[in-house]
Symmetry: C2
Subunit: 333 residues, 2 copies
């Protein structure tokens, strides 16, 4: 659990491309950020108030979140000057960098001296249980993809926002470092030891009100041979009542695997649904989320119309056209 609200550290990021985490926080949990702090030469700007550490502390900020990627695989001295000053002022630090905060002696020393916590969200810290497979109360939705990086996190985030907009009970359950930093909690599933993967998903998504939905962030793909085991643990540990199929239609091969073609949405449905029903026999595929960023608007609309007819399921691009079509069916489950 990372304490909110945050001050978002943009460092000397050259541009917005480096600021994926900070953008995620601004877009999905703006209430979690009191402002941004930038170093000289920073080319990223979230449009939030620029603040000093002291100003943000006064505004209530509890944690300084590193919202940008670093350069060259090191945490530079100019960054560290700010991070250590933040610890001195009582901040916790949170980071999804490959370089761990806990591996930097000066940061560890400062955190011990001043009492702040160093959150490295790429590292699995909890002692997760072995999955027990017991049916849990409450409802769960899981996005599964034909490939990695097709929009599963965005789909779950946007459905969660739409659910809450409608006054329905919904919680986004983060399984990757961006989602964990955005929401302040979650399980970094790809860093969990194999035996405990499904158990960590059960832990992440416990018993809840009967009309409450967990929107569980998907990872990998059942068809991506590098990460399919992680996806499988989500399908079985998550016990989804609803699956959303995610796809990016212009992709020519599986991400990072030039010899592997993408499956069709039908193949994804026919593979994922029987596997999901092992842990939750009531599971249904309730919708399709298409990442149309590389398609013109007419092309995207035609594609979605054809797809709805072909598969008999609501299909949309939640980024472009909203997540309403994906949420509607959940209200009938």
């Amino acid at each position: 659990m990372i304490e909110t609200p945050y001050l978002l550290f943009l460092g000397d990021a050259p541009d917005m491309l480096a600021a994926k985490v900070a953008i995620g926080i601004r877009d999905w949990r703006p209430e979690n950020a009191v402002g941004q702090i930038r170093l000289p030469g920073c080319g990223a700007d979230l449009g939030l108030a620029d603040m000093t550490l002291a100003q943000a502390r006064e505004a209530g900020a509890k944690t300084l979140v590193i919202g940008v990627a670093n350069r060259g695989g090191v945490i530079s001295q100019v960054w560290k000057d700010v991070l250590i000053e933040a610890l001195m002022m009582g901040y916790d630090l949170a980071s999804g960098l490959h370089n761990l905060l806990r591996d930097e002696g000066d940061l560890v020393a400062a955190s011990q001296t001043y009492g702040g916590t160093l959150h490295d969200v790429r590292v699995a810290t909890d002692g997760y249980p072995i999955a027990n497979g017991k049916a849990r109360s409450g409802k769960r939705c899981l996005a599964v993809g034909t490939d990695c990086s097709v929009g599963k996190m965005y789909t779950a985030m946007s459905m969660d926002a739409e659910m809450r907009r409608r006054g329905l009970k919904s919680t986004f359950r983060a399984t990757g470092q961006t989602g964990i930093l955005v929401t302040g909690h979650g399980v970094p599933l790809d860093a969990v030891v194999a035996d405990f993967m499904a158990g960590s998903v059960e832990y992440l998504s416990p018993d809840n009100d009967d009309d409450h939905w967990d929107m569980i962030e998907g990872q990998g793909s059942l068809f991506h041979v590098s990460y399919s085991g992680v996806t499988m643990a989500l399908v079985h540990g998550g016990q989804p009542d609803a699956l959303i199929l995610c796809h990016e239609p212009t992709r020519t091969h599986m991400r990072g695997l030039p010899d592997y073609a993408l499956p069709t949405l039908e193949q994804l449905r026919d593979t994922a649904l029987p596997l999901a029903r092992i842990s939750n026999p009531r599971c249904e595929v309730t919708g399709i989320s298409i990442n149309t960023q590389h398609m013109g608007e007419d092309e995207a609309r035609d594609y979605l119309t054809d797809l709805e007819e072909r598969m008999g399921l609501p299909a949309t691009d939640p980024y472009r056209f909203g997540a309403g079509k994906l949420v509607d069916p959940l209200q009938r489950i």
Copy 2:
């Protein structure tokens, strides 16, 4: 890589049930064991020569392998006296205990003083790569089960032995602690971090001669919700050319999951084969291995005959009737 040959430490094990690892070594790699060493009160006996540490060292033993489970979750002082003396004499130590050798200060100190290595085979030590999915030369066989603990390791071990008996090229590839101690190498897959599971299986089973078979030890089950992600990583990282379906017909529910029924062998075939073909389109199901330990001999034979007719595949219990029927089809691939 654990240096062979071994001296097998049976400690003060009350009976043979506690000696699973030592029995595995004696049965599958007798050439790896120069003898056994027992403490007063030991009720286990492998039928190997009883030796002192000095005698076994003289006979060439390189590693003292803890071949039995310990009691009460501790490594007792009487055990440690032997283990430390072994380190003083130049032995390495190897263990699959939940209590790690490396967590015992006196063993660590002795290993540092005398130079012996402490092998805790439950811990993943190598830096495994992310799986790249590239087709590898050589052939691979993987046993997949309707449940955990239905005989997948035994099936692969016995097929490997039968292959070598026929003069064919075969290597057993261990993915669990017993198999690793038996053969001296392998990957403790259930202890590998999620992102690297499939990559560790690729690492375990690299390019090889076109007529060489890796007999990859299976883990878990695609239908066992606690461990299915581990199984999935084996199916995709292993790139099997041949799948063997494993089953124990008298089991009433999935191991440790009282609410879960076992799948049928048909369900296992129809689930595992399409998934395996994602990474190896040439994969076939080539045989069925039945654990008939709870059936009379006539009952077992009738069951196997019916099964062969029902599924159109060779079916046997390799422990009871030999692994020949399972190896025959591999010679035609």
